[in-house]
């Protein structure tokens, strides 16, 4: 049972909410939040320490507070949040190295929870339909957040080897989505016209922000060492998601994706790495059987419910609201059949 918890990446939405959730647990006496910038949101009873996990100061924080559980949520998905790809990579990779180095030296640390991502499986035509935790990626990610995540997991494995007494839980999340969290996916579906890779229709999976946080809380409170895919039930197709969002799509040849992605990035509409374009082209599925059977966790929202919560929460203006489509359908049916067919 953890007493003193350190949460990294606390100034961003998910980290901040996680810190607040943990302070609400009476069994945890102290929650220390760490980030380079002060949190904009209320992190409840958590203490904030302005520290850069990229330098050895973090070691002092861990030792001074006698931290026994470290929740690492400091891996950033988009360069804009970090202020450029270079500093994003610094925060993600060097930050993790420093954090783990500090943990290795701190005898008080007994548990490490890492928020990782299913993007480490890459995306491509040679992928099996569903990745289980034991499978190796067929197309190793070569850029962006996915590559950072692969490297972070590599360092976490190294740490687990050197400190076998520490319980390490790695959670590989499907794409976070929800009414409030900002992710590359939510800004993508917020585009007025959604560019899609022509001739492809990716399978997508989402995890609701509340479910994702609950999974991290569960890993922090209980003893669940290991690696777990975390995703909402079911998959939806990119085209289907766009229709649910009521957005028109614009299929573009995959070869033009780099150009279009750069343009969208330049305009500040959404943040796109080549890795994400690959993901939106080939899609990916992760198998969450181990999450249910070993980790013992059942998300409250399915993939499509999660997506709908984004649409409702963001009030994405649907070009064709479903009610209107339904009304039109009923009208047509009654017009054509004299109103005698009822559904």
């Amino acid at each position: 049972m953890p007493r003193v918890v350190l949460v990294t990446g606390v100034s961003r939405y998910l980290g901040g909410r996680m810190a607040r959730i943990l302070t609400e647990d009476p069994r945890i006496s102290r929650v220390v939040g760490v980030d380079v910038v002060p949190p904009r949101m209320d992190i409840g009873g958590a203490e904030f320490v302005r520290a850069d996990i990229r330098n050895p100061i973090i070691s002092k924080v861990i030792n001074a507070a006698e931290v026994d559980t470290v929740v690492h949520m400091g891996v950033i998905a988009t360069p804009v949040q970090a202020g450029g790809r270079m500093s994003m990579k610094e925060i993600n990779v060097i930050g993790t190295m420093q954090l783990l180095a500090a943990c290795q030296k701190a005898p008080s640390v007994a548990k490490l929870v890492v928020k990782s991502s299913s993007s480490i499986y890459g995306a491509g035509p040679k992928d099996p339909a569903m990745f289980t935790e034991d499978m190796e990626p067929k197309h190793t990610p070569s850029s962006g957040w996915a590559k950072d995540s692969v490297e972070v997991e590599g360092y976490v494995r190294g740490f687990a080897r050197r400190r076998p007494d520490v319980d390490v839980t790695t959670l590989r999340f499907a794409n976070f989505l929800g009414p409030r969290v900002d992710t590359p996916m939510s800004s993508y579906f917020g585009l007025p016209v959604i560019p899609t890779p022509m001739g492809h229709d990716a399978r997508l999976q989402f995890i609701h922000e509340d479910d994702g946080l609950e999974a991290i809380r569960r890993a922090t409170i209980g003893d669940h060492p290991g690696m777990f895919n975390i995703s909402g039930d079911g998959v939806i197709l990119l085209s289907q998601a766009a229709r649910r969002a009521g957005r028109p799509t614009m299929p573009l040849p995959v070869s033009s994706a780099g150009l279009v992605g750069a343009m969208i990035r330049r305009l500040g509409l959404a943040d796109f790495s080549p890795e994400q374009v690959r993901f939106l082209t080939y899609g990916r599925g992760i198998d969450a059987t181990r999450m249910r059977e070993v980790f013992g966790f059942e998300p409250q929202h399915t993939t499509s419910e999660t997506f709908d919560s984004l649409v409702r929460g963001r009030r994405l203006n649907r070009l064709l609201p479903p009610e209107r489509v339904e009304a039109a359908e009923e009208q047509l049916v009654s017009m054509l059949t004299g109103g005698e067919v009822s559904r």
Partner: protein, 351 residues
């Protein structure tokens, strides 16, 4: 979606409805005899029955005159169904499975153009459908031929439309299929997935009927002179998958597909430039341009052989390469012999 005016169509004869919109209900094996009868009748006597196939079936249930009543019912119900389908498509309110299989779309849209090709153009005759179990996982292993994989589509249609349990064949395809735009997309939506051990085992464990063509591109891209000579059967991965999941293997021989696009030469350089495994030159393609894409109307026979059961083997049988090789050979030999048998029985290529 029930309709007061449709109820009189007897529920016992629900096959006529089930056939019209099969996506709506995954009907159990209730309608066994009728479906097969109607299927074989269609192929046997394609008489001047311009009327839809369900009419003779509902006549005994109703009064002898199938007058004005049922026709408009069928019509307005069709319209309502079509509109409901369009609405679900517009709003995205439909389900796909984890492999990307979109049952409704596959059945209502993707399979529709294949049905006339199946019954009119190739006049496919099926044999041994009783060897396919009504439920549970099984692995259909077939020979591959015909330049483009029409044989897989026809086999899938044979099982979906003519097997009593309307079994959907989940086909395993090469990764090249899934890296090709449009084709890969349609393949996933129609229930295919990548030919790899995890996917095959996942499907078999879920009790799906899985179709595999182990010859791969070696089979479809072979020259006409080597027709009906089976190529190497991959590395026997399909046997391992069947052994691990203890699913029966059903050998399947397809005759007719070889003659659809006879390959007389292979433009290797062109294939390499375009990133294709082969570039076929047939008597009509590329000579006649797009017209060369029309397949020759060969007469097809698809025969499903007796299942080879794998549940008698020990649990670690899949790790015994010798056993896997032997089983692979057994399956291959069975298909080869069946092919020879069917070729002898066949009267001519086109009749």
């Amino acid at each position: 979606m029930t309709d007061a005016r449709v109820i009189p169509i007897k529920t016992k004869d629900s096959k006529s409805n089930a056939r019209k919109k099969p996506a709506a209900k995954k009907s159990p094996a209730k309608d066994v005899p009728g479906k097969r009868a109607s299927g074989s009748r269609r192929s046997a006597s394609s008489s001047a029955a311009a009327a839809p196939a369900e009419e003779p079936e509902e006549r005994p249930a109703h009064d002898p005159l199938p007058g004005t009543e049922p026709a408009p019912v069928a019509w307005d119900r069709k319209v309502a169904n079509a509109l409901a389908f369009v609405r679900r498509r517009i709003t995205g309110e439909y389900e796909i499975d984890e492999f990307g299989y979109d049952r409704e779309l596959a059945d209502k849209v993707l399979n529709a153009p294949l049905r006339p090709i199946y019954s009119r153009w190739f006049r496919v005759e099926t044999r041994g459908l009783e060897n396919i179990p009504d439920d549970g996982g099984a692995l259909v292993v077939a020979n591959h031929s015909g330049t483009i994989a029409l044989d897989s589509l026809m086999t899938s249609l044979a099982l979906l439309d003519h097997h009593p349990a309307r079994r959907q064949l989940r086909m395993l395809g090469a990764h090249l299929v899934f890296s090709t735009p449009v084709i890969g997309d349609f393949a996933r939506k129609s229930g295919s997935t990548l030919a790899c051990a995890p996917d095959a085992e996942r499907l078999l464990n879920k009790g799906e009927l899985v179709g595999v063509w182990p010859e791969g591109f070696k089979g479809v891209g072979k020259p006409y002179s080597e027709r009906y000579k089976l190529q190497r059967f991959g590395r026997g991965g399909f046997v391992s998958a069947a052994l691990r999941t203890k699913s029966p293997i059903i050998p399947c021989a397809i005759v007719g597909a070889e003659e659809t696009y006879p390959i007389i030469a292979n433009a290797k350089t062109l294939a390499r430039i375009m990133g294709l495994p082969y570039f076929p030159i047939t008597p009509t393609f590329p000579l006649l341009g797009p017209l060369g894409l029309v397949p020759l109307p060969s007469k097809w026979i698809i025969e499903f052989g007796e299942p080879i059961y794998t549940d008698g083997y020990p649990d670690d049988a899949a790790d015994d390469p010798m056993l896997v090789f032997n089983l692979t050979d057994q399956v291959r030999e069975t298909i080869q012999q069946t092919l020879y048998k069917l070729l002898v029985q066949r009267r001519s290529v086109f009749l």
